[in-house]
Structures are given as C-alpha cells and as structure tokens.
C-alpha cells in the first residue's frame, strides 16, 4: 500500500527538520553513561557487569524524553484532525511517527551502544548481542511510547503522567533485552531471549498502533 509509504516519507521529512530530539537524546544518553561509572568506581569487572543494564536503562529513559511532543505539535497546529480524517488508516500515520521517533531516539542509541560498551569496558565478545537486543528492543520502546504519548494528549497534564504511563509498558521488552545480554555473558544460549523480545515486538506492534490510533481519535474530539 503506497498510501502508507507516502505517510512515512512525509513524517520522516518533517522529522529531519526537527533534529532537536536526536540531539537531546544523545546528550542525555552520553551524560547518563558518563555519570554511572562514578558511583561504581574504577573496578572494571563491576563496571562491565552493569554495562548492559546501564545502556538499556539509558536507552529506555532517553526514548521517553521526547515523547511529549510526538503528537502534541500536530494536535496544536490542527494537522492531527486532518490526519485522523485521512482515508488511509490512522495506524499508518502512527507507525510513521513511531518510525520517525525511533530514528531520532532509538537509532542513535543503537549506533552508540558499542562505543558505550567499550567505555564501560563491557565484555566485547558479547557486544553484538547488546546491539542486536537494542536493535530489536528500541522500536518496541518507541511503540510503547507512542501509546503513552497519544493517551495523555487529551489530558490536562503531560510530563510525569507520560512517564508514569509509558515506563510500565516498556518494562517487558527491556527485561528480555537485558536477559539476552546477561545470557551471552554467562555463556548461556542467547536465542530464547532474543526470540521472546522479537515476539513481543511483533505481537505488540499491531496492538500498540491500534491503541495509539484510538487514543488520537479521542484527543481530537
């Protein structure tokens, strides 16, 4: 369906214009990663053992930062009404937005993960597992995020409410993402965790899209 393709292209064009999120995400990501080693101290073993967790948690938090203006701009300039009334399914629009959000927040994290793993002297034999788990997980985070963002859109408050709504939704994915890395470090089979993670993504995506779409319809009433 070329219709959806057009939607995606369109939102990407817009996303490219607003590189702010990517910048903010990266900044946050770097800072968070820079702060943790302090607490843990120089002990490389200790650092390495938490590296995966740190990277994952920062990824999760980073993706929630720019959620509040995932749809708000469209709501306030009136585009959302038009998008809701588009004859193409609203889910497509949401998917496009999620993709844009992922490119702005998820992709940078995936790209930076090896570097951070290196800095936190993470066992580099397992770095590809970390990257893989992030590559599968971050899109799921964006999807979960879009649900939260669209739900609070019509609400009186954003900020904390968004976080409170989104973080629980993100949990399962992160659990298995980290699980995969730990398995790799412990020499246990990685595949099961990765598969479950992928399953969550595949099964969750349609649900998340439907939910966001429904929430957006409520927001424009």
């Amino acid at each position: 369906m070329t219709g959806i393709g057009a939607l995606v292209a369109r939102d990407l064009a817009l996303a490219v214009r607003r590189r702010g999120e990517a910048g903010l995400t990266l900044a946050f990501f770097v800072m968070a990663a820079a702060i943790f080693p302090f607490g843990v101290g120089p002990d490389p073993l200790l650092l390495g053992s938490i590296a995966a967790g740190v990277v994952w948690v920062t990824a999760l938090l980073a993706s929630t930062i720019s959620l509040d203006h995932l749809f708000r701009g469209d709501l306030e300039d009136g585009s959302l009404e038009i998008l809701v009334l588009d004859h193409r399914p609203l889910e497509g629009v949401v998917a496009a937005k999620c993709l844009a959000h992922w490119l702005a927040t998820g992709l940078p994290v995936v790209a930076l993960a090896p570097l951070m793993a290196l800095l936190l002297n993470f066992d580099m034999d397992a770095w590809w597992v970390l990257v893989l788990s992030l590559a599968i997980g971050t899109p799921a985070l964006s999807l979960a995020g879009s649900v939260g963002a669209s739900l609070v859109l019509g609400a009186r408050r954003g900020g904390a409410l968004t976080g409170l709504v989104v973080l629980p939704l993100c949990l399962p994915v992160m659990v298995f993402g980290v699980g995969a890395v730990e398995a790799a470090l412990a020499g246990r089979p990685v595949l099961p965790h990765i598969l479950i993670e992928a399953a969550i993504l595949v099964a969750g995506a349609p649900l998340a899209l439907k939910a966001s779409a429904a929430a957006l319809r409520i927001a424009v009433e």
Partner: protein, 205 residues
C-alpha cells in the same frame, strides 16, 4: 436549489443533535445537498457551527442522528467518505518548519497552479513560519483547493483574508460547486454564497 427531487442528494444529515459541556447546542437538525449545492452555517459564537462541521466530518460523535454520503452512513463506511471529503477547521494545519511548497506537498498537493490561484507563488519557497495570518490561511485553502469535486467542510474559511483573497475563495468554491462538488461553510455572514442553503443555529454564549 437544495431539496429538488430529480438529482440524488450526495450529503444527507438526518435529525442531528449535539450536546457539549452539558449544553444542548442543536437537535433535530436535518439537511441534504445535491451535487453542486452549498450550505452556509451561521450563528453566534458558541452556537455550534464548528461542532456541526466536526460532527459531519466524523471527528465528533453526534449525540443523535446520522450523516450519509452517497446514501452510505459515514460512520459505518468511512473509507469512501474520507476519500472524497476535505475538512478545514479554525486551525490551518500548517507546518512552520516546512516551506509553503513543502506544506502543500505534505498534504499531497504538488500542483504548482494551486500556488498561483491562491496568490502564493511569490512565497512558495518561504518557510511557513514567515507567513502572515492571511497568507497562512490562504495556504490552508490551497490544500482544500487541491481536491475539488467532493465534499468541502470549511470553518470560517475567510478568517484573516483581505478583499482580494476573499474573491479568490469565492471563485475557488464556485469552481468546486461547478464540478458537482458540495460545500458546507460556517461563517458569520452569508455573503459570497448567495444561493446557498442557509442553516441558522440557535443562541450561543
């Protein structure tokens, strides 16, 4: 002109009622439009013009009644309705970061002569953030003009427009009606839509 039997009516609204914030804005509102016909919705502030348009568009669930397009209930068969319907609310749906031309492209309107008709040709390359209020409204209208022939729902389309552009708007609607399209226009004066079906809404606040 609305209501004459021989032509099939494209848009039919049957005893619509709308309650908002606990106030009943209107009820038992019915009208229908044959090809080429327009309706102009007038009424005081808060009388429910925008609400009516949003109900017809399908953005707002009606408290009562139904809207049909080509005989099909719009709620049940939204696909075809949305393909042929264009909605313009109070907001312009303009992306400040994009240029005028890019904004039109954003809504799938790539035809350069739209810019001509709306007098935007000179501004085509300008970022929409630099447009004046009226210019921005014209950009919003250009998006509508890109899809003539269906059903236009326009909420105070002439807001912020000067004489020249109001003329452009009238021509644009005329051309649309001439193609067998229909239009429901919310406005404070019926001028420029002389022979349109008048829909007067009750007291406002």
């Amino acid at each position: 002109m609305a209501g004459d039997g021989e032509r099939p009516h494209l848009l039919e609204a049957a005893n619509l009622a709308c309650e908002r914030g606990g106030r009943l804005l209107f009820e038992g509102l019915s009208f229908s439009l044959p090809p080429g016909a327009a309706a102009v919705v007038t009424g005081e502030n808060g009388s429910g013009k925008s609400s009516l348009l949003r109900i017809v568009a399908g953005l707002l669930p009606a408290t009562e009644g139904r809207v049909a397009w080509r005989g099909e209930d719009c709620r049940r068969e939204p696909g075809r309705w949305r393909r042929e319907m264009v909605f313009l609310g109070h907001l312009d749906a303009v992306k400040p970061a994009l240029s005028v031309r890019e904004n039109l492209a954003f809504w799938g309107a790539r035809d350069e002569k739209l810019l001509e008709e709306m007098g935007l040709a000179a501004l085509a390359g300008l970022p929409a953030a630099m447009l004046s209020a009226g210019q921005r409204r014209r950009l919003a209208l250009a998006r509508v003009a890109a899809r003539p022939g269906g059903c236009w729902l326009l909420d105070e389309p002439a807001a912020h427009l000067d004489e020249t552009s109001s003329g452009r708007l009238e021509r644009m609607i005329g051309h649309h009606l001439a193609q067998g399209g229909i239009a429901v226009v919310a406005a404070h004066t019926a001028r420029g839509l002389g022979d349109a079906l008048p829909i007067r809404l009750g007291p406002g606040t």
